[in-house]
């Protein structure tokens, strides 16, 4: 063997070894972020929090970098975040913001675009963009990847799923009409309710009504991205959706559905008192934890039922954002954590710990395992996901809809009157903001 042929054989051997060993190495190697400043994360103590905590522990263990977490109940996160960006120096390096809150922060320019911290940073292409809410187009005043700067990344891309009991139903219902008929078939009130979703005033009923509204072809505003803020919540499609929503809630849910929040719905399913519930995927760990659930072996997840216009899914995702008012070193440390967190390895560990991964490749890889079977439904729903409140007045609009829907559910108003009232109030909000607005002709009450 000549020296040349030996070199060729050696190089070929190395290449082969690299090819064979690469997947194994990729499984093991996490991103090396080096030594970083300690960081503090403000996060909500929602059902998926434990998964996040486990992945933070892993980060700390692997890198030796210190991460403090301020886990706060949902109701307190917004004010803590607002206060943080309004002081001279934020106590938090990463703020976890709910979808509806982000515009207020984007618009007031108190967050750092991520590409300014790490030059030209872009989210890995496998990470879901969740309807574009991580990008802010300042000219359009709209959240969109088109011409928008990357302002945040997803810790989860929350969508609804239909959670059902496979021991009670052969297959999950595919349409809302089937939900009604299946629930009537299996329920045995008050021991077993056929179906439940949140009816409590505010964000709860607003968000849980969205799959109905969207699947019936309804919308809140005509085309906000193009600047057309004509209010469309009082369309005939929206009325049909609301009537169906009320029919199902009254026919299948407990009598106190108008006061039921997320905890109540989750508890209903976990205790084995419901055949079907509509909850966010982030609630899934509650159903499969043997210490908290009586339906661990019988619970399953399905794509959201369809209406006349197909599947309607509202994304209610969270956003990891970095405030402007922190020193560069802390911003870089926060980015280091974010980059590590979005890697395939960290996302896999996140899923193992009970989190909801945000990478398509991780969902693909894990969904074949029985314990991650829910991921297929989550992925299907994500594909139909929309951001219905992608404008600056989102929080105020949500309050209006959340109240009027609740009034329709408890019978204080007829569905048509509730939608007409909501439309009028939303139009008022847009008028005050100087938008190009209007509303559809009122529905007949």
């Amino acid at each position: 063997m000549t020296i040349r042929s030996f070199r060729q054989a050696f190089a070929a051997g190395l290449a082969l070894a690299a090819l064979v060993g690469a997947p194994a190495l990729a499984e093991e190697a996490f991103l090396d972020v080096g030594k970083q400043e300690p960081i503090t994360i403000l996060i909500n103590s929602s059902p998926w929090y434990l998964g996040f905590e486990s992945v933070v522990d892993l980060y700390t263990e692997q890198t030796g970098n210190e991460v403090k977490i301020d886990a706060t109940p949902y109701g307190g996160v917004l004010e803590k975040a607002r206060n943080a960006v309004r002081t001279s120096q934020s106590p938090y390096d990463i703020l976890n913001l709910d979808s509806g809150w982000t515009i207020e922060f984007y618009q007031s320019d108190v967050l750092r675009p991520l590409g300014e911290i790490v030059d030209g940073y872009e989210m890995p292409k496998e990470v879901f963009t969740c309807g574009g809410s991580y990008f802010w187009n300042a000219e359009k005043h709209f959240r969109t990847a088109e011409g928008g700067k990357l302002m945040a990344v997803p810790p989860n891309c929350n969508t609804h799923v239909l959670v059902y009991r496979k021991d009670l139903m052969e297959k999950p219902p595919a349409t809302w009409d089937e939900v009604l008929s299946s629930c009537q078939k299996v329920q045995d009130k008050p021991k077993l309710y056929g179906f439940a979703t949140r009816g409590e005033r505010g964000n709860g009923i607003h968000y849980d009504f969205m799959p109905f509204l969207l699947s019936y072809g309804g919308s809140i505003v005509k085309d906000p991205e193009a600047g057309d803020y004509t209010v469309t919540i009082n369309s005939p499609e929206a009325l049909q959706a609301l009537e169906q929503f009320i029919k199902i809630e009254h026919g299948c849910a407990p009598d106190n559905v108008a006061a039921m929040g997320q905890g109540d719905v989750i508890q209903l399913m976990s205790a084995g008192s419901a055949a079907m519930v509509e909850t966010v995927i982030a609630a899934w760990p509650n159903y499969v934890d043997p210490t908290r659930s009586a339906v661990v072996d019988t619970v399953a997840a399905a794509p959201m039922p369809e209406g006349p216009s197909g599947r309607g899914v509202a994304i209610g995702n969270w956003h990891f954002a970095i405030p402007r008012n922190i020193p560069d070193e802390r911003a870089k440390a926060a980015m280091a954590f974010i980059q590590w967190f979005l890697t395939e390895q960290a996302q896999t560990a996140y899923a193992e710990g009970g989190g909801i991964p945000v990478r398509a490749d991780v969902l693909e890889k894990l969904s074949s395992q029985p314990k991650f079977a829910w991921m297929a439904a989550y992925k299907t729903n994500l594909e139909a996901g929309k951001q219905p409140l992608g404008f600056a007045e989102g929080a105020a609009v949500e309050q209006v809809i959340g109240l009027r829907l609740n009034q329709a559910l408890v019978g204080e108003m007829s569905p048509a009157a509730a939608l007409n009232t909501a439309a009028k109030e939303i139009e008022g909000i847009f008028k005050q903001s100087g938008r190009n607005t209007g509303m559809l002709d009122p529905l007949s009450e």
Binding site: S108, E200, G202, V257, A258, A259, L268, R324, G428
Partner: protein
């Protein structure tokens, strides 16, 4: 240096006694002026506190109420837009509903608390032994933190496993949606308020009962007055100042109720338990409408002041 008296008065000197009187008058004037300054100096800390803690915040609230406020990188930006907030208030039917709900809550809860507190005060005053222990037991609900009260009652009201519905189930009734029935939710919240605050009224009135002159009551009894007559003609008039204090305190606190309603119903179902404080919370923190929230706050302050002015006369007459 003492000047001759004519140079100061323009009159001929009347003698050494007159000069001394004049000097002493001047001294008194100087002392009075000094006293005046001293009095103002003593008041100064209180004035500063009043300005910083009351006048300035209210002035700032007025400034906010006539502005649209937005936050940017440079902090809060105020735009003078008084008509914007006022026109919104004029069309805000929900706020009228909130005011009505608040008034209903205040009237019913305070009336029940006053009646119960008074009865309990009379009953405990008549307890022959361990009065201190009974009094301490009675005031326990006031000591419980509002968050604990909200959580505890929310569990008791729970539709599926709450103790109230379980008890009803034992006699074949229910379950009842204590917090989800629009016609019932406000009264469920009133019940919690009564449970929480009756001991406060009791405490004030109990002190009043304990301070009553026994000889007057005994004399009335000797004269053949019935218990009802004694209560109506002697105890109530003598306790009028204590009753007035308890009534005013409770009314103001009931008007400001927030925590227990927030924890129990968040204002729902519909608008059935949305009192003004809760609406303020939604406007300030949910909608981030600081200007409009400030205007609503001013209206609420005005309503409370109007209530106090109206009741002051009535209560004063009652107390006399």
């Amino acid at each position: 240096m003492n000047l001759p008296s004519e140079t100061r008065t323009g009159l001929p000197a009347a003698g050494p006694g007159s000069a001394a009187r004049t000097r002493s008058r001047a001294g008194r004037r100087r002392r009075r002026a000094g006293d005046r300054w001293f009095r103002w100096a003593l008041l100064l800390p209180a004035l500063v506190v009043l300005l910083v803690l009351t006048v300035w915040p209210v002035a700032n609230l007025v400034r906010m109420a006539v502005s649209t406020i937005e936050f940017g990188r440079e902090g809060a930006e105020f735009t003078f837009t008084p008509l914007r907030n006022l026109s919104r208030l004029a069309g805000d039917e929900l706020f009228l509903t909130n005011l009505w709900t608040t008034a209903l809550f205040v009237v019913v809860s305070v009336a029940i608390e006053m009646a119960l507190g008074f009865l309990l005060a009379l009953m405990v005053a008549g307890v022959p032994r361990a009065k201190g222990l009974v009094r301490t037991m009675m005031i326990l609900p006031v000591l419980v933190p509002p968050v604990a009260i909200g959580s505890m009652w929310k569990l008791m009201y729970n539709y599926d496993f709450g103790i109230l519905n379980q008890a009803l189930g034992l006699i074949g009734l229910g379950p009842i949606g204590w917090l989800s029935e629009p016609s019932l939710a406000l009264w469920s919240v009133v019940l919690v308020d009564v449970w929480h605050w009756t001991p406060f009224v009791f405490l004030i009135l109990f002190a009043g009962v304990e301070g009553l002159p026994r000889e007057v009551i005994e004399a009335a009894r000797v004269d053949g007055a019935t218990t009802a007559q004694i209560v109506r003609k002697i105890i109530v008039p003598l306790m009028a100042p204590a009753i007035a204090v308890a009534f005013i305190f409770r009314s103001i606190l009931a008007f400001k109720v927030f925590d227990q309603i927030y924890l129990l119903t968040s204002g729902g179902p519909g608008t059935s338990t949305e009192v003004v404080s809760l609406r303020l919370y939604h406007v300030f923190f949910g909608q981030n409408e600081l200007g409009y929230g400030a205007l609503l706050s001013l209206v609420i302050i005005a309503a409370i002041v109007a209530f106090l002015v109206t009741t002051r006369g009535l209560v004063g007459r009652f107390a006399r």
